[in-house]
Amino acid sequence: MGRRLFVAIVRLHPRPFRERFEAELLEAFDLGRASLGTAPLLWDALRSLFRQWLLRPPMPGPDVHIAVGSASSQHGHVPGCVQLEAYRIRPAAKASGIMLALAMFGALQFATNHWSGPRLQNAMGAFRHAVGLPISRVEGPVAKKGAATVDVPRAPDSIWDDLAEKYFAGQPVLRALDSDGDYRLSAAEIAAAPSVLPMLDKNRDGKLDVTECLDPPMRDPVLMPLSPVLRQLDADRNSEVSAAEMRNAAAALLILDASGDGQLHPVEFLPERGVNRTLRFF
């Protein structure tokens, strides 16, 4: 039984090692088991197995020599010779690589599914922006898990400016936030949001209702969530932007910063419908 186990462990060793030392290992086991004991020898073989697969560099296989035909060889000179080293990646390295790749993939999946905070969104957006991928826009309540995203390809700035100009006409909040009127919300304008938004509170009730957030004919509470900016500002979805939500406005707006550059471009805050219409042309 002990010998069978030892043979099995030896056969699990890397092939070059096994072919080189198997007979000697078995002989040493047969001769040494009386004095050293079977269990210690089995344990020793297991430790050797671990070291061989994980710690030892691969044993090179036989080198391959290929004669290369050349003009000189055809004329009776010494033929050229290329030596290819028969280096093979050891299975343990492959297994480690596969496990590492799976672990990385799993970690990324977990992070994107369970940690959808603005920092991660911005980091992912910055990465996509840097490598030229379409930016990914959040389409839904970011606070909830599994918020859907949609890829938005880039289009010329003029297209977005035209769309934004029309859109801003019905959006007092955006007009107030965009202090320089360039249809973009810079980092400074986003940071100033908590102090700018209370100025829209005309009835002085400490919150912004639909009459203060939207111009006619869009003045309908049902339409508030259709505006990505208002959707983010109105975190509790009660069709009002409370004093607390105004104080948190900068952080809420930055959630829309899909490109991760710290400012909001029209592509990041125009309603999806407008974006999708624009996309038809690109």
Binding site: E24, L31, L41
Partner: protein, 111 residues
């Protein structure tokens, strides 16, 4: 070679005992195990797995040479190379310094 040996880190116990066993005579695998057992008076039991794992490394590093087997081809004999002997010598010198320092410190501490 000397500079290489100077940079050699302390030898693992199994490697040291294998080199020590081969320093007196050429031995086959089981002979090395027996010699280690004898030299350490049974306190260090070298298993075949550890033995051949280390022998493989020593062969690859050129510290030990494999000689062709005699009547029994399964029994290959291993011989310590000059470089292996130099590595062993360096390790003995290092251990000697450790022992001297240890003794001195213990004597000083006990006084």
């Amino acid at each position: 070679m000397a500079s290489d040996i100077q940079r050699t880190p302390p030898l693992p116990p199994a490697t040291l005992h294998i080199l020590l066993a081969l320093s007196s005579s050429d031995l086959h695998g089981y002979g090395i195990m027996q010699e280690v057992l004898r030299q350490t008076e049974g306190s260090y039991k070298l298993g075949p797995g550890t033995l051949y794992d280390n022998l493989q490394r020593l062969l690859d590093q050129g510290l030990v040479t494999e000689l062709a087997g005699g009547e029994d081809s399964r029994r290959r004999v291993y011989r310590l190379n000059p470089s292996g002997r130099a590595a062993l010598s360096h390790e003995i010198t290092r251990l000697d310094a450790v022992v001297r320092t240890g003794k001195l410190n213990l004597q000083t501490g006990g006084a």
